[in-house]
């Protein structure tokens, strides 16, 4: 299949935003392109643009539709902006992408679904953490809740579907997997993914200069830690 390196569809998201779709299915290379495009668009700091939101298969631009710079044609301006950024060439992958190290305790008391995942995947429970942390993951999109990053790069051996009934409350910091992706819950909320560990890091803190631990496009390395180290880091 030819990969989409150009917008495939322009979908108005109401009258104050537009979704520029590159792919209707998840393709990690298309997502990487979307991340670089988002950085290029964001760097222009245009006064009519309110938010630049890279998503799994495309880019959402939120704008002030009545800003004078748009001359009453926000969609045309948004498309022209994207075309121009693509034409001028996107920033290199390596440059801006950071690698975030995330300590995770994969021990059973922090991993409510470890046994179930072991049963479904036939990977022994004690090896799940090692398998999960062996690969580099990438932030594909942040959504659902502040700082809640959807990360790609899960070892296919660990692929499990979403749980049939979501838990009403999942503890903050829980590391959970589904659909070949990993998420970390920023605070105690309901969630339907399988919990295989927990990080003592705060993934979202409104009091920090950079409230979100992750940015779209970041590379992520999980580092297995012991229960003792978890408690030490959580107390720090």
């Amino acid at each position: 299949m030819a990969r989409a390196t150009r917008p495939q569809a322009l979908i108005p998201l109401g009258d104050c935003a537009v979704y520029i779709e590159f792919s209707r299915t998840l393709d990690l290379e298309v997502n990487a392109l979307v991340q670089r495009l988002a950085r290029a668009v964001h760097a222009r700091a245009l006064p009519w643009l309110r938010d630049v939101v890279p998503a799994l298969g495309g880019l959402a631009l939120h704008f002030d539709p009545d800003h004078e710079a748009l001359g009453g044609k926000p969609l045309e301006s948004a498309v022209a902006l994207v075309e121009e950024c693509l034409k001028q060439g996107l920033p290199k992958e390596g440059g801006a992408a950071r690698t975030i190290e995330v300590p995770v305790c994969y021990e059973p008391q922090y991993a409510a679904d470890l046994d179930e995942v072991a049963k479904l995947t036939r990977v022994p429970a004690a090896e799940i953490g090692a398998l999960h942390s062996a690969r580099e993951h990438r932030v594909l999109m942040i959504g659902f809740a502040p700082g809640h990053a959807y990360m790609g790069g899960l070892d296919p051996k660990l692929a499990v579907p979403r749980r049939s009934s979501p838990r009403p409350v999942v503890a903050a910091g829980s590391v959970a997997i589904a659909n070949e992706q990993t998420v970390i819950y920023p605070y105690a909320i309901s969630g339907g993914w399988s919990i295989i560990g927990c990080t003592p890091l705060k993934v979202f803190d409104a009091e920090r200069a950079e409230p979100s631990l992750f940015a779209p496009g970041d590379r992520v390395r999980f580092r297995p830690i012991s229960r003792a180290e978890f408690e030490r880091l959580a107390a720090a």
Partner: protein, 326 residues
């Protein structure tokens, strides 16, 4: 100088125009549900439009004022011990009782100088799901003391003195915001959503023909719309994607949800429609059991609706400025 909460209302929180530019890290702008009424409330006390006010929902509070304070309660018509939609100088030591909404669902109590809670990420709005902003990141409760700016009393007296027409502690005119409905069902204009074609013609018609009722489990994140079950015709998987204020998404149970101020920034449910931005503040004026129906609209019409709203709001703001001698 503070305002004391003697009895909290149903869902009372500090709100301003919200925090922008953080949707890429999953944080929605939030802020006032009816930003038009907030704008009018701030103008009525001579505040800049980005000042923080108290958002009051359906049932109002009892508040105690320590010092002379210029206030305005704008938005839904509330049964209250002060008249609505106009500047009122509340004398020191007075209790203001705001009982219940007679028409509309939300009103904003603005005070001269604004509610002076510390800004978080550029806004004083309370974001309840993340427990930050506003007063301690939560709904207001009995015993809370809302901080006002240091010279609120002087500002209040000076601004009230500047008003051209006065009667006692208030003015003989009022300025109701244009978002409060005269009758129900209200009509909301809706643009076809990304997944409109995932629903068959009968379901698409049902979306526009049904009189929808706001369900009881509605909150600042979203309004549940009761009246019909919208079944998807397409089995095509929907990739999680961006959402926005006014997106109407349809979860598997077929009960649509209209996304409101504290909405998720992405979602995996099909979006059948997007409510025209100019109509979202009017939706915020519906309480539980409020009724609405959808009229189909395109982007040109949505732009027309924004112009209409501006052409009603701007003369009102000019009239208020004139009353203040500006």
């Amino acid at each position: 100088m503070t305002i004391a909460v003697l009895r909290p209302g149903l869902l009372m929180s500090v709100q301003d125009r919200g925090r922008h530019g953080l949707q890429h890290v999953g944080l929605c702008p939030g802020g006032a549900m009816d930003v038009v009424s907030l704008t009018v409330a701030n103008a009525l006390v001579g505040n800049p439009e980005d000042a923080a006010a108290i958002e009051i929902t359906v049932l109002g509070p009892d508040l105690h004022f320590e010092r002379d304070t210029l206030v305005a309660l704008a938005g839904a018509d509330f049964e209250a011990s002060i008249p609505c939609n106009r500047p009122v100088l509340v004398p020191a030591g007075t209790q203001v009782s705001i009982t219940r909404a007679l028409r509309g669902a939300r009103a904003y109590l603005a005070v001269a100088g604004g509610i002076d809670v510390p800004p978080v990420l550029g806004s004083r709005s309370t974001f309840m799901p993340g427990r930050f902003g506003g007063l301690h990141g939560r709904v207001l409760k009995r015993g809370d003391r809302l901080p006002l700016v240091q010279d609120a009393e002087r500002l209040s007296r000076e601004r009230f003195a500047a008003l051209k027409r006065k009667r006692g502690n208030a003015v003989p005119w009022s300025l109701p915001p244009p978002t409060v409905p005269d009758r129900e069902p209200i009509v909301l204009h809706a643009i076809e959503g990304e997944h409109f074609a995932h629903f068959d013609a009968t379901t698409q018609r049902a979306f526009f023909d049904t009189v929808w009722k706001i369900g009881a489990e509605s909150n600042r994140m979203g309004f549940r719309l009761l009246g019909a079950t919208l079944e998807r015709a397409s089995e095509e998987e929907v990739l999680s994607g961006p959402t926005t204020l006014g997106s109407v998404q349809v979860p598997a149970n077929g009960t649509p949800i209209a996304l409101m101020a504290d909405h998720q920034t992405t979602g995996g449910y099909p979006r059948i429609a997007e409510i025209a931005s100019a109509d979202v503040p009017r939706l915020a004026q519906l309480g539980p059991n409020g009724t609405l129906h959808f009229a189909r609209c395109g982007l040109d019409m949505a732009a027309e609706l924004r112009r209409d709203l501006r052409s009603r709001l701007e003369p009102a703001l000019r009239a208020i400025a004139w009353e203040y001698g500006k």
